[in-house]
Symmetry: C2
Subunit: 408 residues, 2 copies
């Protein structure tokens, strides 16, 4: 494809490989989004499928690597930061009890369903525990994106889903701590207790005093001489809390979401949500295609593995709807369903859990493949149902953070 030898030398020095990757991922995602929008299907599902298509499973145009992972990670961090900017701590507090219940039942039911199925299928105890743990995960980015594009992030059920996702991530972390200890053959209660205390303490600290601290610092930030000081401050806080979150063990996106929430009040009326949105629009396609690109079907030549993957996926969908829906039942059938389906996507979080199991030699290649299919399939299945369940709701967001209008 190179025009000249020198072109090649220069191009490799300047990263043709990088640009080709970026171009293919971005354009494929957006073409698929356009097609899906025309078919009245959610764009996110299209962008993930575009990833399956260009990835090693089908056309093999782009192979996931450290770079695509990095861009994906930055993309979803910005998405959750943006969602946080639209969510005040009080919004989450108001639904705190319900969100906690949704998270707890959304952990217990899928874990039991997954564990029992795997045991019944004749898998080892430790493998069954890991598959169960992967079924606990929630990839809140997908649901947040769908609701954000519909302008519905400030609905009660959206707040419940966001709050539950944060709590779910902490519970998932603790579950994983226990499970990993079991896999290693030694349960360290002190360590698990420390992890729990740190994760909960970090989250509560940011929610309780984050906004106030930001409001106090803001006048100083505005006096800084550096260009766009408030945006610079916001980005630093986002990266900083995402980093702290990973040190504690919770997902980086939780840190980014908390950073956004701490800034939500003082960012109102400023340009920051709009600026974070622009960065997200550029980077999010890399997150979505990267999920799809994980799918390699080599492990699935086996008929029994295919059946298991279908069963695990079905149970993954049903168990979250039952668990989370039950917890949200008092709100009415429709809202219970909205919450249940909103918690279905496992996305990158489910994949990470399976990767940890693989790393600990607790999960075999076949089970890893099954979880991969489950994680991607749930992420693809949920959005169309979400759109249908939320159809007809009034756009509630004062100012949509992710407007659908072509020119704004």
């Amino acid at each position: 494809m190179q025009v000249t030898d020198l072109g090649l030398a220069l191009a490799s020095a300047e990263g043709t490989g990088l640009l080709l990757k970026l171009f293919v991922m971005f354009v494929a995602a957006k073409l698929a989004a356009e097609i899906f929008e025309r078919l009245k299907q959610p764009a996110v599902a299209g962008e993930i499928l575009a990833g399956v298509l260009i990835g090693p499973g089908v056309l093999a145009l782009v192979h996931p690597d450290e770079l695509t992972h990095a861009l994906a990670e930055i993309g979803v961090i910005f998405l959750l930061f943006l969602v946080g900017l639209e969510t005040k701590p009080s919004d989450i507090f108001r639904v705190g009890f319900r969100a906690t219940l949704v998270a707890v039942l959304g952990v217990i039911v899928p874990f039991i369903f997954g564990y029992v199925l795997m045991i019944a299928w004749g898998q080892s105890q430790i493998e069954s525990i890991f598959v169960g743990s992967a079924m606990v995960a929630t990839s809140v980015g997908i649901t947040a994106r769908v609701l954000g594009q519909m302008g519905l992030l400030s609905l009660e059920t959206s707040r419940i889903i966001l709050g539950a996702a944060v709590i779910d991530d902490i519970l998932g972390l603790l579950l994983l701590a226990v499970v990993s200890s079991v896999a290693k053959g030694e349960v360290n209660y002190v360590q698990i207790g420390t992890t729990a205390a740190l994760a909960i303490g970090f989250t509560l600290l940011i929610i309780l005093v984050g906004a106030r601290a930001v409001n106090r610092i803001r006048p100083r930030v505005e006096k800084l001489k550096v260009g766009q000081s408030y945006l610079v401050f916001g980005l630093s806080l986002c990266l900083g809390l995402a980093l702290v979150a990973t040190y504690i063990g919770v997902a980086a996106i939780i840190g980014a979401f908390l950073a956004g929430m701490a800034l939500a009040e003082s960012a109102e009326g400023t340009d920051m949500p709009h600026q974070a949105e622009a960065v997200t629009e550029f980077l999010l396609p890399f997150f979505l295609t990267n999920i799809g690109m994980q799918l390699k079907l080599d492990a699935f030549l086996n008929r029994s593995t295919i059946i298991l993957a279908i069963l695990v996926t079905l149970l993954a969908v049903i168990s979250k709807i039952i668990g989370c829906g039950l917890a949200a039942w008092p709100l009415g059938k429709k809202k219970a369903l909205q919450v249940g389906v909103g918690m279905v996507p496992r996305g990158e979080v489910g994949i990470v859990v399976a990767q940890i199991g693989l790393g600990l030699h607790a999960v075999g290649d076949a089970a890893y493949g099954v979880v991969l299919v489950m994680a991607i399939a749930t992420t693809l299945i949920a959005p169309p149902f979400l759109v249908r369940l939320y159809q007809g709701e009034q756009r509630t967001d004062t100012e949509s953070v992710i407007p659908v209008s072509p020119l704004s």
Copy 2:
């Protein structure tokens, strides 16, 4: 630094390393920018120095790798895209003759100065030719950033610098084609001719018909159903033309700049410049720190190498000021100096040329180190003088693309 073992496992799966790198680079750059602004020095110089400080040369907090290079590349691509969005093709045409003259003399004088110095210093012919070629390069990003932050991108001399930088890149490419052929021992005139024709043809094609084509496509783009369709179109064009540019052999930033220029007219009054600016604000610090991070001083324990590096840097500054200043002399002494100093930074372009020489075994480690110092030193020296030379000019940009105000 990890709080728990599990934290470690999860964190590495989720990229603590990535986030740590991003956080340190971003925050160090912005702290340095703040300090430099307070000292009334240009922020860019501070951000590059921050890179030197955190890089392997001093504190070794972050090591440049594929990832930092990738972020740097995307950052400078967005910067040039943004600058292009503020530059209409007619703006460049109006200064076309002057810009061409500036580019040509800005290639000839530095090359001769560099070549003669290296020969006089007793270096081999091929090494002297490569160092001369590296002195020809112009890193327009640095100057564009300084002028953009001052709101002076639409000044006549700014246009001349931008136009000259594009032509300079094409001339540099051809020079490098000849030089590389010589290094390989065979000069392929057909190939050099093809490279020349492609590079010039590509640039003229986009400048001449790009804007018209974009204006014609725009109504269709607006009808697309995908969210933010105009931004998506702009980003696709930016990545696409940057990619084509690297295939031809010119720098990716030239493609991004041309994409911006093609969109400049139709983007007026839309949100796109503002959105491209947000992405740039996030990514540019990685470009600037990455330049500084290239500096390792191991090759400089030798006294004679240090003296040579100082001489090469001095000649690199003087030769561009003489060459480009001479070409801009009819505009008056002040403007001639503005143009001359604006063309001084060699930045990443000079480094790439030296890397190619290293790859062809035409340049030794010492000469590579000398070029590295020259590239970074010229990039640090120019901004303070630029700011002084442009002090007192009226802000001309209708709407500053890179506002300095903390809250906009």
